[in-house]
Symmetry: C14
Subunit: 89 residues, 14 copies
């Protein structure tokens, strides 16, 4: 295997791995948050606006970790400095 | 194995891996959210519209992480820059 | 092993792997949702229509992640671009 | 190993793997659903018809993921396009 | 190893693997269902006929996933198309 | 290694593996069922005959999955079609 | 390694593996059953005879799965048809 | 490695493996049983004789699975038919 | 493989691995925190400002561990001293 | 590697493995038993003598499984029949 | 691979591994602490200052273990004595 | 590698492995026992002497399994019969 | 690979491994302690000084195990006797 | 690799492994003990001296298992008999 093939292969593997593994637990954390939000609204319907607002800020924070992974994945596919170095060599 | 075969092989593996692994926990998180929504409605039927609306926003957020994985998977199969580079070489 | 064999082999492996792994957790999530729906109906029989409707929307969302996996699996078996490229070469 | 042997070998492995792994969690999810149905009937015998009906729809949804796996398995054994391509070559 | 040996070997391995792995979780799911049935009968002896009937339908559904695995296992041992192809070649 | 040795070796391995792995979860499921039966009898001694009868039907169903594994195991040791084919060749 | 050594080696490995792995969960299931029996007797001393009798039937059922494993193990050590075939060849 | 060394090596490995793995869960199951016995005695001191007697029968049953493993282990060290066959050859 | 390829390959692998693995548990921890915040607000709506403020400080602390991983990942891709040493050699 | 070295190596490995793995769960089971004994004494100080006596019998039973492992370990180090056979050959 | 490449490769791998693995559980521990702090404030709003102060001290202690890992990681990238020894040799 | 090196290597590995793995669960079991002791004293301060005494006997029993491992470890380092045999050969 | 490279490589790997793995559970244990401290203060604000003092002693004990690991890690990087022996040879 | 390098390498690996793995569960056990101590003090402030004293004895017992591991680790680095034997040879 020559260098170009290796770098391409590794980039593909890590792009898929990073997104799939990195999206697992944010999905779980968001599921937990949403579930508790629903319980809380059912328990205290008057506090719905505060709960919903806090929920959305929290979801944004959790989603951010999934997005870090998606960003690294996209960098590896479309803006990979090692790939650029190798194919221009 | 020549380069074309390797890249094709790796792309197929990661396409399947990314979707299958990345869809596991969103399914679990959504299951948890839906389950809690049903409990909450049973507990407080009057709050059903608010609960349903919050549930759908939450499901959309969770589904988004599954969709990131599906997108990466589709990019690897149908718009793979490394594959294009190799077969045009 | 020549290229055709390798691509065929990898496609078969990933088709089975993607469906089997990807269907695990949706089944679990649906089981949880259905179970809670039954508890909720038993607890609040009057809310049965709302609960059932929400349940079906939720099941559809969860089933969608299983279907992503099944779709990737079918693409790998019957519409695999890498396979088409290799056997036409 | 020649190509025919490899494809046959891989098809056998994935047929067994897909069915066995893919049937694990539906069985668990159905067990959970049935268990809750029984608790719910014991708790609210009057709602038995609604609970039973919802249970059967839910079981059908969960069973569907097990059937996806069984279908992929049967395709790999009896309608495998890669196998057909290889033995006709 | 010649082709006949490989196919025989792989068929034996997958026959045992499919049955043993695929029977694990149905047993667990059935155990859960039976356990809940007993609790429910103790709690509401009057509903015993409905509970028992629902239990048997549920057990049949869960058993079906174990039977899929057993069927695949028997196909691999006694009606394996790849084996037939190889030994008739 | 010649074919006879390989097939014998694989048959021995899978016979032990199938029985040992396949008997794990039925034992657990039966333990759970028996445990709940005892709790139920203690809770509602009058329902003992119904509980005991339901328990035995349930145990038979669960035991059946263990027996599938034992059957596959015995087939592999004493009625293995691949072994018969090889030693008669 | 000649055939005799391989078959002997594999038989020893599987004899130990089958017994040790196959005895794990029956022990756990019996522990659970005995524990619940004790709780039930403490809760309802009058039902002790029924509980004890049901317990012993249940233990016998659970023990049976451990005995399947022990039987397979003994067959592999003392009545192994593959070993007899090899050393008489 | 000659045959004698291999058989000796495998026998040592499996003797240790069988005892260590096979004694894990009986210890856990006995711990659970003893723990419940103590709770039950504290809850219902009058039933102590029945509880103690049932406990000892149960411990004997659980211990039996550990003893199966110890027996297999001793057979492999001191009465190994494969070893006897090899060193007498 | 020459040095440049190896270092590039390893950097890509670790960049993806660090972000994906390192973002898993912060997402879970944040999910837990947000969930508890919602429960607490529902339970004590008057304390919402204090709860929200404490939540945001806590989220920042948890997010910081995810950011450590993202920083290491970015250093490995864009400011890798080993890569600079190798390509300038 | 000659036979003596192999047997010595394997004996050392299994001696350590057997003791370390085999002592794990007895320690856990004893911890559970002791913990429950303390709870029971706190709950019913008058039953302390019965509880303590039952605890010691139970601990002896659990300890016995740890001792089986220690015995096998000592046999492998100081009374290993395979080692004796090899060094006297 | 020459020494420089190996040391660089290993340093990159461990830098990523140490940070990603070492940050997992502090994030979880902090999540737990923050979650309990919020529950405690909701339960006893008057004790908020003491709770917050204790929380921050605790978070600092937990964060310190994450920082140990980050420090080791930075030492491996920017102040690695083995790397300095090798490149100066 | 010559015999002396192999035996030394294996002895070092197992000495560390045995102590580290074998000390894991005793620590957990003791933690559980101590924790329950504290709860019990808080619940029934008058029974403190009995609880403390029982606790110490229990801790000694649990510690004994950790000490078995430490003893095996010390034997492997300082009184290893295989090592003595090899270096005197 | 020469000796210097191997020792350097292994030292780097273990330095990172020891710190990252060894800091995992102390972080978890501290998180648990801090969390309980907060609950206890909320429940019994008057006992805050005693609770805080006991918490800090406990945290110091737990932190000590993390510090053992950090110390071993630093010894391996900056005061490694094997490294000193090798580079002075 | 010569003997000196191998022994050094293995000693470094086990020193780190023993400390990191062996410190995991003591940290967890201590965390549990400290947590319960705090709950107990909050529940029964008058018993604080007895609880604290019992806690410290318990922590010392648990810490002792971590110290066994640290001791083995230090012996492997600074007083390794195998290393002394090899470098003096």
């Amino acid at each position: 295997m020559d260098s170009v093939t290796i770098i391409a292969m590794v980039s593909i593997i890590m792009a898929g791995f990073t997104t799939s593994i990195g999206c697992m637990f944010p999905a779980l954390g968001e599921g937990k948050s949403v579930a508790t939000a629903l319980t809380s609204i059912a328990q205290q319907p008057d506090a719905a606006p505060v709960i919903t607002r806090t929920l959305f800020v929290g979801l944004a924070m959790i989603e951010s970790t999934a997005i870090y992974c998606f960003v690294v994945s996209m960098i590896l596919i479309f803006a990979n400095p090692f790939w650029n170095h190798i194919i221009l060599k």
